[in-house]
Symmetry: C2
Subunit: 472 residues, 2 copies
C-alpha cells in the first residue's frame, strides 16, 4: 500500500465518521505534509483519490471540500430506539447463509473466521504434544470443569496484562466462546424471559434466544460510538429485561467499540438494576491501537459481568478452547457445563496452556494484528476502486470484520444469492437482527491475506450491484 493511499484512507475514515462533515474543508497541503512527512505530490495524489471516490470535490483556489452524503447515514447508525420484545425466528436464514460459505473454494468474504493460514499450526502442534505428555492419566478425571489448572493460570495471567485481577478459580474452560456464551445465557434465564441484544448484532445470540424460548429486545448500535446507552436505559425502564448479551470491543458485525467511559456507564446502569451482562469479548486481542482495550468486566465490582472469550479467533480455531469468568454465576455455569458436555478436550487444553507459556503468543498476536491492518487497507482501497461512491463504512479499530452500508435500494439477501452463484460469500445484514432489517448492509471479512481472488471478488460485487434485480 502506497503512502498516498494510506493518507486518503485516513481522511476517508474521518469523513465517514462525521469528523469532517459535508461542506468541511480538508486539512491543508502544508498540514498534511507536516503530519505525514511526505512530499507535496503525495498529498495531491491522496486528494485526487478522494475526489475519485466521490468523497470530496475540488473548488478552484479554495481547496477540497467534503461532498454531501459522504458521512455514514442514519440507516447504518440505527434507529435510536430499542425494538419491542419479540420472539426470534432467524435460524433458517442464518443456516442458509452459513452453508453457502463453508467450502474452501468460495471467496470467504462472508466468513466469520480469519484465514487459518495466519495461525502458528506447527508450533501449536509442538505444544499439543508437550502438553499432552505432561498429563497423567488421572488428569482425564481431574480436569473436569472448571478445567486444566495450568491453562486457567495462564488465562488469569493474561487478565493481569490489562491490569485486571481475575482468579483462576473464577475461570471455566469451555468448548470455544460459543459454548461459554450459551451456558451463561442459560444460567441467568428461564423460558419466556427477555434478553437485550445489539442491533445489528451477532446472530448466535439471536439463535440462542430462539433455541431457549426467550425473547429479544434489540438495542441499536451506532457504527461510530457503539451501543446506544440511552436506548438501553429506556428499554430497561420499560421491560423486565433479565440479561444483556453485548460485545463492547470490536462488535460483530459493526466493528465498533465502546469507550472506557461508556463501558463504565454500561456496567453502572446494569448494576443499579442487578441485570447480568454476558460479555462477548472474542476480538479483544485483535486491537490495532497499541493497548489492549479493557472489557466491561474491568468495571464490575458486583460479579454481574460474565466475561466470555476464546483462542479460536487468535490462535487455534479447531481446538475449541474458550472460557468464561462468570462472576457470581460461576458455580451455576460450571454445573451446566458438567451436565451438557462434561469438559473441553483435555489434550487441547494442555496444548494451549503450554503454548501460552512457551509458544510466543504475544509475538504471534503482533504479527496477526499487523496482517489484519494491512489487509484492511487493501480492502478499503479495493472498495474505493470498484464500488460506487454511495457505499459507506466506518473503519474498525480492531478485529477483521467490516460493516458496509450499500445504497438504500439494495436488497442484501438478493445480493447474497447472486454473489453465492459466482462463488463469493458475503454476510447479508438481515442475519444480524430478528427484525430481518439492515437490508442494505453487508459484513465483509478482511481476515485473509489479500490477493487477486479478493480483488476480483470486490470487482464482481460491484458488477452485481449494477444488476437491477437486487434493487428494491
Amino acid at each position: 500500500m502506497n503512502r498516498y493511499e494510506t493518507i486518503a484512507n485516513n481522511l476517508a475514515t474521518q469523513i465517514r465518521e462525521g469528523l469532517l462533515p459535508a461542506g468541511a474543508r480538508l486539512p491543508s497541503l502544508r498540514h498534511l505534509i507536516a503530519q505525514y512527512g511526505v512530499s507535496q505530490s503525495t498529498v495531491f495524489r491522496a486528494y485526487s483519490l478522494l475526489e475519485q471516490w466521490g468523497l470530496v470535490r475540488a473548488e478552484e483556489r479554495a481547496g477540497y471540500f467534503v461532498t454531501k452524503g459522504a458521512t455514514v447515514n442514519e440507516t447504518v447508525r440505527g434507529e435510536g430506539l430499542a425494538t419491542e420484545p419479540r420472539k426470534v425466528d432467524i435460524s433458517d436464514l442464518v443456516f442458509s447463509v452459513l452453508e453457502s460459505a463453508r467450502h474452501a473454494d468460495i471467496v470467504p468474504l462472508g466468513s466469520a473466521f480469519p484465514s487459518p493460514q495466519l495461525f502458528p499450526t506447527a508450533r501449536l502442534l509442538k505444544s499439543l504434544v508437550a502438553g499432552t505428555r505432561s498429563l497423567t492419566p488421572w488428569n482425564t478425571v481431574e480436569d473436569l470443569p472448571p478445567g486444566n489448572d495450568h491453562l486457567r493460570q495462564q488465562i488469569s495471567l493474561r487478565y493481569v496484562g490489562t491490569g485486571m485481577s481475575v482468579s483462576p478459580n473464577e475461570i471455566l474452560i469451555t468448548n470455544g466462546a460459543l459454548e461459554a456464551l450459551n451456558l451463561c445465557l442459560m444460567a441467568v434465564t428461564r423460558p419466556g424471559d427477555l434478553v437485550a441484544v445489539e442491533s445489528p448484532g451477532f446472530y448466535a445470540a439471536l439463535q440462542a434466544i430462539e433455541r431457549l424460548d426467550l425473547r429479544a429486545v434489540e438495542i441499536p448500535v451506532d457504527p461510530v460510538s457503539g451501543l446506544d446507552l440511552e436506548a438501553l436505559q429506556s428499554a430497561l425502564d420499560q421491560h423486565p429485561i433479565r440479561a444483556c448479551w453485548f460485545m463492547p470491543n470490536f462488535q460483530n458485525p459493526t466493528g465498533t467499540s465502546l469507550s472506557a467511559d461508556k463501558k463504565r456507564a454500561l456496567v453502572e446502569l446494569l448494576r443499579r438494576r442487578e441485570v447480568p451482562l454476558i460479555e462477548d469479548d472474542v476480538y479483544q486481542e485483535l486491537h490495532f491501537s497499541r493497548d489492549r482495550p479493557l472489557p466491561a468486566k474491568a468495571f464490575d465490582t458486583q460479579g454481574l459481568v460474565m466475561h466470555c472469550s476464546s483462542f479460536s479467533k487468535t490462535l487455534a480455531p479447531g481446538y475449541r478452547i474458550g472460557w468464561t469468568a462468570a462472576g457470581r454465576f460461576s458455580d451455576k455455569v460450571r454445573r451446566l457445563k458438567l451436565m451438557t458436555t462434561l469438559s473441553a478436550c483435555i489434550p487441547a487444553q494442555a496444548g494451549v496452556a503450554d503454548y501460552l507459556e512457551h509458544g510466543g503468543y504475544d509475538k504471534h498476536l503482533r504479527s496477526l494484528r499487523s496482517s489484519f491492518q494491512s489487509q484492511l487497507e487493501r480492502m478499503e482501497t479495493a472498495l474505493h476502486r470498484w464500488l460506487p461512491s454511495p457505499v459507506r463504512w466506518v473503519r474498525p479499530t480492531g478485529g477483521y470484520l467490516l460493516w458496509l452500508q450499500l445504497p438504500q435500494s439494495v436488497k442484501a439477501m438478493e445480493l447474497h444469492a447472486l454473489a453465492s452463484a459466482r462463488g463469493i460469500s458475503i454476510a447479508p445484514g438481515p442475519i444480524f437482527s430478528a427484525t430481518h432489517g439492515f437490508q442494505d448492509c453487508i459484513r465483509l471479512n478482511f481476515g485473509h491475506p489479500w490477493d487477486n481472488r479478493f480483488e476480483n471478488a470486490i470487482r464482481e460485487l460491484a458488477e452485481i450491484l449494477d444488476d437491477p434485480s437486487i434493487h428494491g
Copy 2:
C-alpha cells in the same frame, strides 16, 4: 482367581437371578466336575464357599440347597409400574455425590469412569500427532458439523462390524456421548414435555430433563431382564410421552441388557406411536460374551432411533469425542450442535480417526474387556468375603458397573457420607431416580485394576454397614 472361586461365583449368579430358586438343589458333584473339568475337591471348595456366603445350606446325604432370601428380591427388581409424570429435582444431590468422588486419592468405587490407566495413552498420542499433521489449515473451517470425514467413515465401519449399515452422512461428531444425548433430547422436546426414562437410570438423563424444564416418567428396570416393556406400554397409553431415553445394553446403573427380541419389541412399540428413542449405548463395546450386542437402532426402519455413543469409556476419556446417528432428526441435531458448541476438537477427531484405522482398537478392546471381567471376579469375591449375606446383586455381562442391593434398612445416602469420610466413594441409589428411591442400593465401579485399596475399601464398607446410624 482360583477355579473354585469362579465356580462359586457362577453358581451364585444363577441363585441371585432366580435360575436356582430358594429350596432348589445345586447341580451335582458329578455334573460340575464334567462341566468345568475340575477335581472333586475343587467342587467341594466351591460348595463350601457358597455356604460361607449364606447362599446355600448343606443337607446331610442329600446335597446343597439354595437358602431363602438368596434371590434378588422385589425391591431391586423395581415396582413394576411407571411413575406418574413429575418435575425433576436431582441436580444438587448428584453434584454433591460427584464432587466427593473427584480426587485421585479417593477409592473410586462410586466413579462413572473406568481407570484411565487401562487406556493406550502413548499410542493414542502418536495418532493425535499423525492425525493433526494430516489436516490442512482449512479443515478447521470444513470440519464443522457433521465433523471430520475420516472419523465418520471409521465409525460407520464399526457399525458394519455388527452387520448394521449406518452411513457416514448420518453420523454427527459431538463432545462425548453426553453432548450427543443432550442435543438429541433438545431436538425432540419442548419445555413441559414428558420423557420416559429408566428407573433406576443414568442421572444425566434426569439432569437434562430438569435443565430443559421437561417432566420424567420413570419405567422400572428389572435387574435380570431389563426395561419393563409392559410398564412402558401402559405409560405410553396413559401419557403423551414425547421421547424415551434408554440404555438397552449394560444399563447404567444395573448393568442389565435387553435381549434382541426385547429390543425389537421396544422399537416396534415406539414405532406404532411415532415416539423417538434416544439410545445411550456407551458400553456396547464392553461385552463379556463373544459377540458385540446389537443396539435397538439395528431394528429401526423409520429413523426414530437416535443412537449415541463415544470413545470416552473405551479409548480416550479426555478427548471428548462422541457421536450420534440420529436418523430422521439428524439435520435438527446438527443445527443444534452448530448453535451451541460449533464443533468437537478437530485435532482430537483426527487423532481418534487415525487410531481407529491404525492403532489396533479391537486388540485394545479385547484386553480392556478381559481386565474388566477379571476385576469383576475379584470384586465379587471380595463382596462375598466381607459383606453380610443379605447383600445381593446380578452379575453384569458387560461394562464395569455393579448394582448392589443392601439390607432394606440401609440408607444409602448415610452410607455414602460415612464412606466419603473414610476416603471411599460409592454411588448411592437415590441419585438414579427422581423419586429419590433405591435407598437400599448402591452402584460400585469395577473398572479399576484390583488391589489392596479396593479390597480394604470393601472391608470398610462392611464395617460401616454394621454402624446403626445408617439403618432407618
